[in-house]
Structures are given as C-alpha cells and as structure tokens.
C-alpha cells in the first residue's frame, strides 16, 4: 500500500510541477474556476459507467469462464473439445474487432434468427469484454482446479459425494486461494480494456476525455487526468484484493 501511495503522489507531483511551464494549460481542469469545475465534473462523471461496465462484464466473464472450464477438465475428449475450441478461438480475437462485430454485426445475425433486439453501447461493450475475458478466466479456473491433487476428487467420490458436491465442498474451497490473485489481475485488465467502449460511443472515462479534448483543445492536460483516473481505480482494486487475500489467509491458518 505504501508503495502505491508514493507512486500516485509522484505522478501527481510531476504533473503539478509542469503546471508552471507556459506550454501547459491546467486552467481546463482548474477547480478554482467555474469552467474547470464543470470540466472536472464532466470527466469524473465517466467513473460510474466504467465501474459498472467492468463489474458486470467481470461477473459475466467469471460465470461463462466456469461454464467453459468445467467440461474442459473432463476425461472424455468429446466433452473437452468444445471448451478447448472456445478458449483457443476467443483468445485469438483482438478486442476491438470483436467489439465492432458484436455492436454492428451481432444484431444483424440475431435478426436473421428472427430476434430483433438492438444492442446499445453499454451492453455491446459488456458482451464483448465478458466473452473476450472469459477465455482467460476459464484457463485460470482450470489451472487452479487442476492444481488440486486428483486424490482429493477420488476421496470425495468414494465417500459418496456427487460431482457438484465434490466441487463445492472439496475442490473449490481449496482452489479459490490459487484462483483469486490471477482473477483479480484479470479484473484490472477488464477495467483497462473498458476504455475501448469509447469507440462505440459509451460515455465512460475515456470517451468523456475525448469529447472534452475536442472542445477544449488541451489533450495533454485532459489525458493526464484520464490516466490518473485509471491509476486511482486500479490501485483501489489492488488494495481491495490484497485485503481480501489477507483475510482468506487468516481463515486458512485458523
């Protein structure tokens, strides 16, 4: 925590130090002026969209990831195959093209099946982020679960537990500690990738910064603040995750 505080202060210090130079125009986000206040409020207003977008996408990704991961660990090759294909396929698609495909293409595909729904920027971004990320969460689950020795599953089977009970009471409680840290990293990745939602018009942090740049012509200052916004968000998540890990660690040794 201490290190991250120092980091944030340094970043801020560099920016503040530059403000004396004539080439910088901090007035666009100067909180002592009305215009500055309005601009800051406009920029910060993107937080809510970025956060809700990331949270919903992460929740979906964690669910889809589990649905993909479980058959991916089957001993039956034919059960395993679709899961492997999904992971390899989805991992190979860059996020931006997938976003365009989902936003502009998916409604057309759905319409040809007689389903007429329009996908707005919010849900288009969520679907894309969730699918793209689910290939990674699936792999995280798989390696976490497979790191629990085979003997544990066998012992659970021999005391009459079903597959679901074995997962719930024996495997997942042991796997969760290995799954959580990489899963948290994945969440940070989602937060950062959510910036792409700006290109389809989603009013999140990046989009708002872009719009303000167009009217104020001060890209350096506005994008600096934008980076700071992401930095604060990501550091807050890291902090939360470390707290969670420590709590679970305490539970384990009890």
């Amino acid at each position: 925590m201490k290190r991250s505080t120092i980091l944030a202060l340094c970043a801020f210090g560099v920016l503040a130090g530059c403000s004396s130079s004539g080439n910088w125009g901090w007035y666009v986000i100067d909180p002592s002026t009305t215009n500055g206040q309005n601009n800051i409020r406009f920029l910060l207003g993107g937080f809510w969209a970025t956060i809700s977008l990331s949270l919903i996408a992460a929740a979906l990704s964690m669910t889809i990831g589990m649905i993909i991961a479980l058959p991916g660990m089957s001993t039956n090759r034919w059960v395993r195959l679709p899961s492997r294909i999904y992971v390899e396929f989805v991992r190979a698609i860059p996020l931006l093209p997938m976003l365009f495909w989902v936003f502009y293409g998916l409604p057309v595909v759905l319409r040809s099946f007689g389903i007429t729904i329009s996908i707005d920027a919010f849900w288009g971004a969520i679907i894309t982020l969730a699918i793209s990320d689910s290939a990674f969460t699936a792999e995280i689950y798989r390696s976490g679960i497979q790191s629990i020795a085979k003997g544990q599953t066998e012992a659970a089977k021999t005391i009459g537990l079903t597959y679901t009970q074995t997962m719930r009471y024996v495997i997942l409680p042991q796997a969760i500690r290995r799954i959580l840290p990489p899963l948290a990293n994945q969440f940070i990745y989602i937060v950062k990738m959510s910036a792409f939602a700006s290109v389809i018009g989603m009013q999140e942090l990046t989009r708002r910064a872009n719009e303000l740049v167009v009217t104020e012509y001060r890209p350096l200052e506005i994008y600096s603040l934008l980076i700071l916004e992401y930095l604060v968000l990501v550091l807050a998540i890291s902090f939360f995750v470390r707290w969670l890990e420590r709590r679970m660690g305490a539970n384990e040794s009890r």
Binding site: A155, G160, T162, Q165, Q174
Partner: protein, 245 residues
C-alpha cells in the same frame, strides 16, 4: 452358495496400448478377507480401482452387491456401499478431522450435523484418536492420518472395504497402529480386499491370498496353503524375495 458380494468376470483394462488387466475373474463372498500382492506395476491398484469405478474398464463385467458397473451413475451407486482407503490418505486439508468425517454422511446421506458428529466420534474412538477431532489433517502423524481416513470411510457404513497399500507411505513405527485397526475390522467380519506387502498382517487377517503379475491373477488360494505351498514358480520367487526383508 450365496451370491458373491463382488463378482468380476473376464475383466480387461487398457491404458492406451498397455494391457493393464488381463482376463481377471474374481468372486468375493460376504465376510471374506482377501489380500492382494504382487510386484510393482502388476495391476493391483488398477484392479481395486476398477471395482469401485475410479477407473473404467474396457471389457468384462463387474457386479458389486447386485449392481452392474457400467457407467458413472452405477459407479456412484456402488461407491455408496464400498469404502476405500488410499496409500496417500487423501484427507481434505481445508477441513478439520471431524468435518472430514461428517462431510459424507451429511451431504451424501442427509444426516443432521448432530447425528453425523455422533457417528464420527464413535468411529474416531474405534480408530483410537477421538482427542484429535478438532485438529487439521496436517497436524497429525501419518499413522493418525491414515486411521482418520479409515474412520472417514467407515462413517459411510460400507459393506465392503478396499485398501490400496494403506501402510506403504508410513514410517515403519506407524505401520502397526494402522494394521491393528484393519485387523480389528477383519475380526468384526468386514468384507475386504487389501493390497499390501505386509505378509505378517496377511497371515493374521486374510482368508484368501491373490498373487498378481503382469495384469493377471497368477495364483489364489487360502492363506495357509498360499504361504506354505505356493504352486507357481513366479509366486514362490516373489514370496521368497518379500519374506527375506
């Protein structure tokens, strides 16, 4: 003659191209205590793992207490009456000893926590470690852990017990405490198949011996005759090697 508890007919098992079990026939009668021995890689573990469906078999039939083992559903049904103890104990490290014992009865049998705990404590008494109930597995010695594993199986009140080298992972001084518990079970009339190289134990507890090599049952017979007058050369050789140690 009563229907055997376990009936294996012409069992064949392959790992890829490797023929791990070759035409195994085996009947286990109610209350019978069988010890299986044989050199490493001869298929002893594979045989008993096939019997409770931890491994699938490729040819032949396995019938346990009237249920034909054909798929995961029948395997699940069979495991309800068959307990198993592993060489590596396989206790659940995230649960206390008591929770290790109550998990099966509560989740698979629907017992209340109170009933399951009462049952658990009675079996912990039986394996002589009731005072360890609230510890974690890693706080116990190997011998104690294996006794917990036996108690965990017994909590499901099985009709048959399978043991796969239950003392091979133990320090020598802990072997007898585990074997004593198994001898007690044998004396109480539990039907069991035990893979082990502890021949003193076999003489004491087994009605019948099975010697396996290269995936086949080479020799089987009553314990006395098996040790005193083995018929095949391979079995003689194996016994002389193992009894020297």
């Amino acid at each position: 003659m009563a229907e055997p508890v376990i009936k294996v007919r012409d069992l064949n098992k392959y790992f890829g191209d490797y023929h791990a079990l070759r035409g195994i026939d085996l009947d286990v009668a109610e209350g019978e205590r069988i010890v299986v021995c044989g050199p490493s890689g001869s298929g002893k573990s594979t045989l008993i793992r096939c019997i409770n469906g931890l491994e699938t078999h490729d040819e032949g039939t396995i019938t346990v207490r009237g249920t034909d083992l054909r798929d995961e559903a029948s395997a699940h049904a069979i495991r309800g009456g068959v307990g198993m103890v592993f060489q590596q104990f396989n206790l659940f490290p995230h649960l206390s000893i008591l929770q290790n014992l109550t998990l099966g009865p509560m989740k698979a049998r629907g017992l209340t926590r109170k009933a399951a705990e009462a049952r658990a404590m009675s079996y912990l008494e039986r394996v002589r470690i009731p005072d360890q109930a609230h510890k974690r597995p890693k706080e116990l010695s190997g011998g104690q852990q294996q006794r917990v594993a036996i108690a965990r199986s017994l909590c499901m009140e099985p009709k048959v017990m399978l043991f796969d080298e239950p003392t091979s992972a133990l320090d020598p001084e802990m072997i007898s405490e585990v074997l004593d518990v198994i001898v007690d079970l044998a004396n109480d009339g539990m039907t069991m198949i035990c893979v082990t190289h502890e021949m003193g134990f076999a003489r004491k507890a087994a009605d019948r011996m099975i010697f396996m090599d290269h995936g086949e049952i080479i020799e089987t017979g009553p314990t006395e005759t098996f040790f005193d007058a083995p018929r095949t050369d391979r079995c003689k050789q194996f016994l002389s090697q193992i009894l020297q140690h």
